[in-house]
Every structure is written in structure tokens, then in C-alpha cells.
């Protein structure tokens, strides 16, 4: 018996209709079925944050969300928000500040930082650190990431020097 279910959703604005196994996580679906490999898999138990994606406007753990739960949803991944230019200021700040080393946590870190700046356009450094604390980065020690988010926030709100 084929256990798969049909789902229809939009991914980065494009409609996708396909069949998936009910047990398949949203991040595996995006990586394996849609071919968007920018969302990464780090722990598969909801701790490291590497699989962060945007589902109906909110960031979620792609490993704790099943693909079937995204039926009818609007999903945005790092590839989509890169192409739309939506997070360009954050990306520029990350590159200038070397706020990424291996780059494995970076797509999720950027989506999380974008969510922070949407909620709070002028966060303090402690607020940035608190908000990013669901995203594990083994390389940077976080300071460069905090600097980059701070700098992008000033750029976006026009308060930069």
C-alpha cells in the first residue's frame, strides 16, 4: 500500500504539487524532493536550528515539521529570500563582517535574523544574542554575527553612521 499523500504548497512563490510520505520532514522534502539544498540538516531533533525555514510567515524548524503539515502553506527558503532581495542588507553585512565561516548555519541564521529585525528593527546586542540562541554556530563564536545583525539593522533603519 502506498502510504504517500498528495500535498500542494508554494515554495519561494512557485506552486508545488506532489506526493510525499507522511513521515518525511519538511526540510528533507525541500532538499530531496524540491532540490533546494540551502536549508541544512544539523540535528534532526529541533535543537541546532540549521533547518530553519519560513512557513506561512513564521520561522520554524524544518526537521520538526512534516512535509504533509505544509499542505496549502507558503514556504520560503534561503534561496527564495536571496533572489527576492529581501535579506540583501543582512547578507551584505554578513559578508563584510565575515559573520560566516563554514556557512552551514548561515542560511538559517539569516532567516532567524530577518525574523528578529521584522519584529524589532532596532535590537540591542543582548536582544540579538537572545533571539539567535536557537541557532548553533560552531565556527564564529557568534560575535561577528551579532555585529553583522546590528550593522544591518542600522543600515535598514537608516540610523547607521
Amino acid at each position: 500500500m502506498d502510504p504517500s499523500r498528495e500535498i500542494s504548497l508554494t515554495v519561494n512563490g512557485e506552486p508545488v504539487t506532489t506526493r510525499v510520505e507522511p513521515r518525511k520532514s519538511l526540510v528533507d522534502f525541500l532538499r530531496e524532493d524540491v532540490g533546494l539544498t540551502g536549508s541544512h540538516v544539523g540535528c534532526e531533533h529541533g535543537v541546532c536550528g540549521a533547518c530553519t525555514i519560513r512557513l506561512n510567515g513564521a520561522i520554524v524548524r524544518g526537521c520538526l515539521t512534516l512535509a504533509v503539515q505544509a499542505d496549502g502553506a507558503e514556504v520560503w527558503t534561503i534561496e527564495g529570500v536571496s533572489d527576492s532581495g529581501e535579506i540583501a542588507a543582512l547578507q551584505k553585512a554578513f559578508l563584510e563582517r565575515n559573520a560566516l565561516q563554514c556557512g552551514y548555519c548561515t542560511p538559517a541564521m539569516l532567516l532567524t535574523a530577518a525574523a528578529l529585525l521584522k519584529e524589532n528593527p532596532t535590537p540591542t546586542r543582548p536582544e540579538i544574542r537572545e533571539y539567535l540562541s536557537g541557532n548553533y554556530c560552531r565556527c564564529t563564536g557568534y560575535q561577528a554575527i551579532v555585529d553583522a545583525v546590528e550593522s544591518a539593522a542600522s543600515e535598514m533603519t537608516g540610523t547607521g553612521s
Binding site: 518525511k24 560566516l100 548561515t106 565556527c139 563564536g141
Partner: protein, 792 residues
């Protein structure tokens, strides 16, 4: 000044050296367009999952795969004996580590399992999920054996021997005895003793180990896509143990999601994956999931050190030490698991000028996960011991800990200097660095603040840690002992008819910025804007043979090769240009991608024009001119076994005496890594390293029970540093270039991790000492601190 080019004539020849040039490879990573190994999908690619041992020590009576074989999607199920026919076992010993012994290790356990997590059966299926479904249906009958867990009793006569053929559980033992230790202790004004424990922890690379082996039987060629630090080393290992001609093996390693020494060892599951691809004649992928990473990625540290220190006349005069470490059931191949203990013996006391040193190090086998080299091998233990002893000695001698350090550091004018341990230093700057950090942190001001706050029940501490770091290793590290690990690294640079420059190097990119640094050096050496330079890494078929990324060697070794190759290419270009322009090469220069008149700076021809003439219109070249626009140079240090660096770190923190929680308030580093090629990348290596060291000091611990089960093998239970707990880190530099290379660069990749645990440890004891508390182990969890304070 009319020249507005990025490469002004006024800052030649080193325009990019010492500048924070952004890395060329980060944009695609920030767009989610990297090329990590798991991003690759090949036609007919199968997936392997491993059934791992639930026991730390057990015999395997039988394996029943009858139900699993019928599970949907299953392609092949293989256990130990069959695997051993396709992948020969390996033994992790090196001849220069005298007496080191280990037993043959198989890709899949044969007859007996020796750690919880050891791979026992491989299941290949159409999807990973189907492979895991089938693995769950395999029945293995185990006969549990008494596990050897405690390293302290591993050598007792009553303890079982892990590998009967070895006779006992002692893998390696080394002693050092220099000067007259007994006399120094007899004459000492003050003596301090410590028994310290350094917890077992692991790398937790965010990208787990990943491998995709692709054997093409028609071509007889094996291509292995792999998240690794050492492609050429792995090529040799895959060939050696699968029987494929080494020249038919290609290892490709593009983006690597963190490595830190985790991705440079021979893992049984990787070896099995390669063998399965050969057996099945199709691509096979293995990605360690996080739960299996914790019980299969190498662990590190786990040392128990008894040590004492003597002080006379306000200076350190002697150190005596006994180091014991448990490495799991096998010495890891090919680097061995004796190196960390060996490093500890080499490095203890390293920053200080004293003549009397006695040490014994013992490395024992046990039924825990394998242990091997992880970022800053041995250093956190060595400086954890040294700096804890120095603080204790200062208390015993009634001295300020900064004063005892100041009096005892190797003087800046003492070089070249040979330490009591026998290691040689070319040139370091301990005194200058130490004075710099005291000023940077306002040491006296912090002491005053600390005293004031104590009156209101706030307990803050200052921790100082001086250190040295092994960088730019020569063949004396591994090659001398028989390992096929290259200490040399090379860079090939070519000029194309576009005027573009492409560099290929055997050093790999793990995010540390190798590609940026090579591009900076090549651009500077040739005389082109950095935008014209491309760098290729991570492919044994297209890069010069080399060692890869380990022991903080990339910038210092491949950087020098890039400098020499760039200079040679520049010379070749000028020779061609001189012939074409009917002048002398020494009257020309290359600036901003053009050949110019050296005196006037006026442009004679662009490099693109030169390249087009050479490649497309060679008929225009004068007779006898044979242009060579591709150059390779290699470099390996030879005068000193290592280019040591030095640094000093300081931590300011607060301990909540009621909860035992530590709040990090400030952290400073002064580092001397020789010539700084890219200040931003250097500082970010240090910051990332410090935070890994803080992880070891406060959070990270592989906790084992008495049966040899790792009890916290999930990311929810094994704590790592997250953004909210970490401090900002202030960094300054002293630059003492190595004279062994023209570039003068030493390594910096491990310095942060080397010193941070000692700084945090000392700061905690400095905070709670006034309450009568003292910790003697890391990680310093709240529970440990409350116990030290007698509150639980």
C-alpha cells in the same frame, strides 16, 4: 595621485598582505548555494545506515538479517566477516611514538564489539529511511562482557584486557626527566599540587560527517565526495584498504560544514561506505545523523593529571606531572591516539623559563568511543594544568598571579630558546604580549573592582592564561613515523588568456578563509587585483599533492607556497613581456594586472593581452621564447619541527554562589601568530576558537555511565555554547614573523581553543576562592561549582 586602482603602485608589493579582504566564497554560502557533500545526488545513488552496538563490550553470537532482507527498498545487508573481505583492517600506530600499540580495527565489528556505537551491520537501501527501517529488523545476539570504563583502573590486573593479543590495556607510555626536579622541590619557597580532570568532549560540527562513494567499475575508478580536511590522506587510505590503485582514487571535498579535527580520521562507517560502493558498483551515500555522531565522531581530552609546581625567589623552578588519558578501544588510524598525551608532555610549562621538568604520560584502552586529535590537540590540557598550577603557586607564595607569570615567562630576548621539555622556539613575545593584555584589560582596575564587589556579595574572578601553540608542522609530526600524511603543501598558479589567475592548492577550505588568504598572497606576489584571482581547493585530481587542513598549517605553509609560486609566475610573465617589448625584464613590473615600465609606471601591455599573444598568436613571439604561464611551488618547514606561536588570554566572569551559574563578562586575547595576512580572518579564527574553549570549560561533556553508555548523546543533553551566553572578545596582536619563510606567517587556527579553558578555570577559582571554594575539573557545571562551595 591619479591611480585609483585597488592595487595602487604605492602599496606594492604587499598590497593585500595585512588587509581584511572579504572571502571570495562566502556569497554563495549566504545564499544557500554551497556545495556540501549531502547536497550531491548521483544517478543510482543508494543510502547506507549502520546498526551500531548498544553495548560497550560484548561478543557477537549471531546476526539474523532474515526479516530485514525482506524490508522494502533493501539492496544489500553486510556484516563484519563479509566486509573484512572487501576492506582490510587498519592499525593506528606510528614508529616515532615508541611502544605505541593498538589492535586491527575493522570497518564492521568482527566477533566482538568494543564501544557503544561501533558499527556492526551495514544496510544499503534505496533511501536512508528504508535503510533505517531494515536495520531495526536485524536481530543481533550479543553476549555482554565486563566493560572497561574507568581509565584509572584500566591497567589493574583484575581489569579485563580489551585486545588479548596486546597483553594489557596500556597503549602508550612516555616519560620526560630534565634538570634536577627533586632538588628544585627540596629548595622551593613554595610548592602547589593539583589533581585535575579534563572532561571528554567532542567536536559537534554542525554538518555531520558525510561521504558519497562512487565506484565506476568500467573505469576502475573510485571517486569519493567527502566532508574532509585531508583529501590526499584519505585517497591513500581508501586505496590501501580497498585494494584499488591509489592513482585511480579521487577524493573531492568542496564545502565542509565545520571540521575542527573531527573530519581527518579513519572512521569505520566511512570505510564501509567506500567498500559498499565498490561491492555494489554504484554510488553509496552515508550521512552520520546527530545521534550517531555523538557515539562515532572522535572524542577528545579526558585526562586526569596529577601535577605539582615549585617556586623559588618569586619564579617557577620546576614542574612535575603525571598524565593519564583513556582513548577508547583503538588508537585511531593513521594519526594515532597517542599524540594528545604526547603533546601534553611537550607543552606543559611551555610559556615559562624553568629547567626542571619530570613527566609521565600514559594512554590506556577502554570501552568508550574512540578518541583522537581535535582542535588544539593537547594544548587545553597542557595550559589548563600549567596555568592552574601557576595560580595555585601564586597563592602558596603569597604573590599576585600576574607577578609570578611576569617573573617566569621566557624573556623576549632569550631566543632561540630550548625548553626543559626539549622543544625549540625560534622567536616568541611572551613578555610583550603579557604586558599588553594587562593594559588592555586594565588588570589593576579589575582587581580593585573585584575587591569592591566582594563586599556586596558579588563574586567575580580574573583568569589569566599564557600559552604557546604548535603551528606549521614539519614532517616530524607524522611523516617521520610512517604515516602517509604530507607536511608539504603546494600551490599551482596559472595565468589564462583572459588575464585571470587561478590558484589550486592542496590545503582545504573549511570556512577558515584559506581561499581568501591564498588569493591575497597570489594577487600581491603577481601584481593583480584580487578580483582576478580564483582559488580551487578540495579535489585530489586538480590540486597539487598536499596535507590539507590540520595543526594550523594552511596560511603558513600553503601561503608560502603561494608566495613562491606567484613570484615565479611573475618572473615568467616579465621574461615573456621583455622579449615581446624588446627590453630587459628588470626594467618592467606588473601592477594592477598590466606590465608597466618599472620607473615611470606607464602601462606597456595588460596581462590579458600578454596571455592572448602567448596562447593565440604565439607566432608573434620572438624565436627562442618559451612562455610558461603555469607555475607550481611547494613548501615545507625544515629548520624547526614547528613554528610555535604564543599568546595570552584573560577572562572576567561572575559566579552566582547560590546557583553555581557562571556569567562571562569579558574576554581578552593578545596573540602573536607572526605576519598577519588578513586581520579579520585571524581575529575570527581566534574568537571561534575561544568559544570552543569556553564550551569545554563550562558546558561540553560526554558523560558515560559505569556500563560504558554515553548518557547525553543528543544536542538537547550535550550542551554547546550558544549566542546568549558568550561574551564579546577583544583581540590585539604582537607580530613576530617566522624567519623560516619569506611570508613569515605562523598558524592561528587553534590558539583560541588552546588557552580559553585555562583562563575560564582560573577565573572561576579566583571568584570562589574567597568563599573557600575550588574547582579541580572542567566542564565547570553549576553542580560542580556548588559542590566546590560545599552547598550540595
Amino acid at each position: 595621485m591619479t591611480d585609483k586602482s585597488p592595487l595602487s603602485i604605492h602599496d606594492l608589493p604587499n598590497s593585500y598582505i595585512g588587509r581584511s579582504v572579504p572571502r571570495p566564497n562566502t556569497r554563495r554560502l549566504a545564499e544557500g548555494r554551497g556545495a556540501f557533500t549531502d547536497d550531491i545526488t548521483l544517478a543510482r545513488m543508494a543510502h547506507v545506515a549502520f546498526l551500531r552496538s548498544p553495548y560497550a563490550h560484548a561478543g557477537i553470537r549471531s546476526i539474523d538479517i532474515s526479516r530485514a532482507e525482506k524490508s522494502p527498498g533493501v539492496i544489500r545487508i553486510v556484516a563484519g566477516e563479509e566486509m573484512a573481505r572487501h576492506c582490510t583492517p587498519w592499525v593506528g600506530v606510528l614508529t616515532h611514538l615508541k611502544g605505541l600499540k593498538s589492535a586491527p580495527q575493522y570497518a564492521l565489528a568482527v566477533g566482538r564489539v568494543r564501544w557503544q556505537g561501533e558499527p556492526v551491520v551495514a544496510v544499503v537501501a534505496q533511501t536512508r529511511a528504508e535503510a533505517e527501517d531494515a536495520a531495526a529488523l536485524i536481530e543481533v545476539a550479543y553476549e555482554p562482557l565486563a566493560p572497561v570504563v574507568d581509565m584509572e583502573t584500566a591497567l589493574d590486573a583484575s581489569t579485563p584486557v580489551l585486545h588479548p593479543e596486546l597483553g594489557d590495556n596500556l597503549a602508550f607510555e612516555r616519560t620526560v626527566d630534565a634538570g634536577d626536579v627533586d632538588a628544585a622541590f627540596a629548595e622551593a619557597d613554595a610548592v602547589a599540587e593539583e589533581v585535575l580532570h579534563f572532561g571528554r568532549h567532542t567536536g559537534v560540527t554542525l554538518e555531520p560527517r558525510t561521504i558519497l562513494a562512487d565506484y565506476n567499475p568500467g573505469a576502475g575508478k573510485l571517486t569519493v565526495h567527502m566532508s574532509t580536511q585531508a583529501p590526499h590522506m584519505m585517497k591513500n587510505i581508501f586505496a590501501t584498504h580497498t585494494g584499488i590503485d591509489e592513482d585511480d582514487v579521487r577524493v573531492v571535498s568542496k564545502d565542509v560544514g565545520g571540521s575542527f579535527g573531527i573530519k581527518i580520521h579513519t572512521y569505520p562507517d566511512d570505510m564501509a561506505t567506500v567498500a559498499l560502493s565498490v561491492m555494489l558498483k554504484r554510488p553509496v551515500k552515508f550521512v552520520a545523523d546527530r545521534l550517531e555522531s555523538f557515539v562515532s565522531d572522535i572524542h577528545a581530552r579526558d585526562h586526569r593529571v596529577k601535577a605539582k609546581i615549585a617556586v623559588r625567589g618569586g619564579r617557577i623552578t620546576a614542574i612535575e606531572m603525571d598524565d593519564l588519558t583513556g582513548i577508547g578501544p583503538y588508537s585511531v588510524y593513521p594519526r594515532t591516539s597517542a599524540v594528545e598525551c604526547n603533546q601534553v608532555l611537550n607543552l606543559v610549562g611551555g610559556p615559562y623559563d624553568f629547567a626542571n621538568y619530570r613527566a609521565v604520560g600514559r594512554v590506556v584502552l577502554q570501552n568508550k568511543n574512540i578518541m583522537c586529535q581535535y582542535r588544539a590537540v593537547g594544548h587545553p590540557v597542557a595550559f589548563g594544568v600549567t596555568e592552574a598550577l601557576v595560580d595555585s603557586a601564586a597563592r602558596a607564595a603569597n604573590m599576585d598571579p600576574a607577578e609570578l607569570r611576569r617573573n617566569s615567562l621566557v624573556p623576549d630576548d632569550a631566543y632561540p630558546y630550548t625548553a626543559a621539555t626539549g622543544i625549540r622556539f625560534e622567536g616568541l613575545s611572551h613578555q610583550k604580549s603579557f604586558e599588553k593584555i594587562l593594559k588592555l584589560m586594565d588588570y589593576q582596575g579589575l582587581r580593585a573592582k573585584q575587591a569592591t564587589l566582594r563586599e556586596s556579595g558579588v563574586y567575580r574572578g580574573i583568569g589569566l592564561a599564557a600559552m604557546i601553540e604548535v603551528t606549521n608542522p614539519s614532517p616530524m609530526f607524522y611523516g617521520v613515523g610512517g604515516a602517509h600524511i604530507s607536511a608539504r603543501d603546494g600551490v599551482t598558479i596559472r595565468l589564462d588568456p583572459t588575464g585571470g589567475v587561478t590558484c589550486a592548492t592542496g590545503v582545504t577550505e573549511q570556512g577558515q578563509g584559506t581561499e581568501a588568504v591564498i588569493a591575497q598572497i597570489a594577487a600581491s606576489a603577481i601584481g593583480v587585483p584580487i578580483e582576478k584571482v580564483r582559488v580551487v581547493t578540495g579535489d585530489t585530481e586538480t590540486t597539487p599533492y598536499g596535507g590539507g587542513t590540520w595543526a594550523s598549517r594552511g596560511a603558513g605553509i600553503a601561503g608560502e607556497a603561494a608566495l613562491q609560486a606567484g613570484r615565479a609566475l611573475r618572473g615568467n610573465i616579465l621574461d615573456v613581456a621583455a622579449a615581446m617589448l624588446q627590453t630587459e625584464a628588470d626594467r618592467l613590473d606588473i601592477r594592477n594586472a598590466a606590465v608597466v615600465d618599472a620607473d615611470s609606471g606607464s602601462e606597456r601591455m595588460t596581462l590579458a593581452d600578454l596571455g592572448k599573444t602567448v596562447y593565440f598568436r604565439g607566432n608573434e613571439l620572438p624565436d627562442g621564447v618559451s612562455p610558461e604561464l603555469v607555475v607550481t611551488r611547494h613548501y615545507s618547514p625544515r629548520q624547526f619541527p614547528f613554528a610555535f606561536t604564543n599568546g595570552v588570554q584573560a577572562c572576567w566572569l561572575e559566579v552566582d554562589a547560590d546557583s553555581g551559574f557562571v556569567r562571562l563578562l569579558d574576554f581578552w586575547v593578545v596573540e602573536d601568530c607572526g605576519t598577519v595576512i588578513n586581520p579579520q580572518l585571524v581575529d575570527e579564527q581566534i574568537r571561534g576558537g575561544v568559544v570552543q574553549g569556553i564550551g569545554a570549560a563550562l558546558y561540553e561533556h560526554c558523560i558515560y555511565d559505569d556500563e560504558g553508555n554515553m548518557r547525553n548523546a543528543t544536542m538537547a543533553d550535550y550542551l554547546v555554547p550558544m549566542a546568549v551566553e558568550m561574551p564579546d572578545i577583544t583581540i590585539e596582536h604582537v607580530e613576530t614573523p617566522t624567519a623560516e619563510s619569506v611570508l613569515g606567517a605562523k598558524g592561528v587556527g587553534e590558539a583560541g581553543t588552546a588557552g580559553a579553558p585555562a583562563a575560564v578555570f582560573n577565573a572561576i577559582n579566583d571568584a570562589i576562592g574567597v568563599l573557600g571554594g575550588k574547582i579541580t575539573a572542567i566542564p565547570a557545571t553549576p553542580e560542580l561549582i556548588l559542590k566546590a562551595l560545599g552547598k550540595v
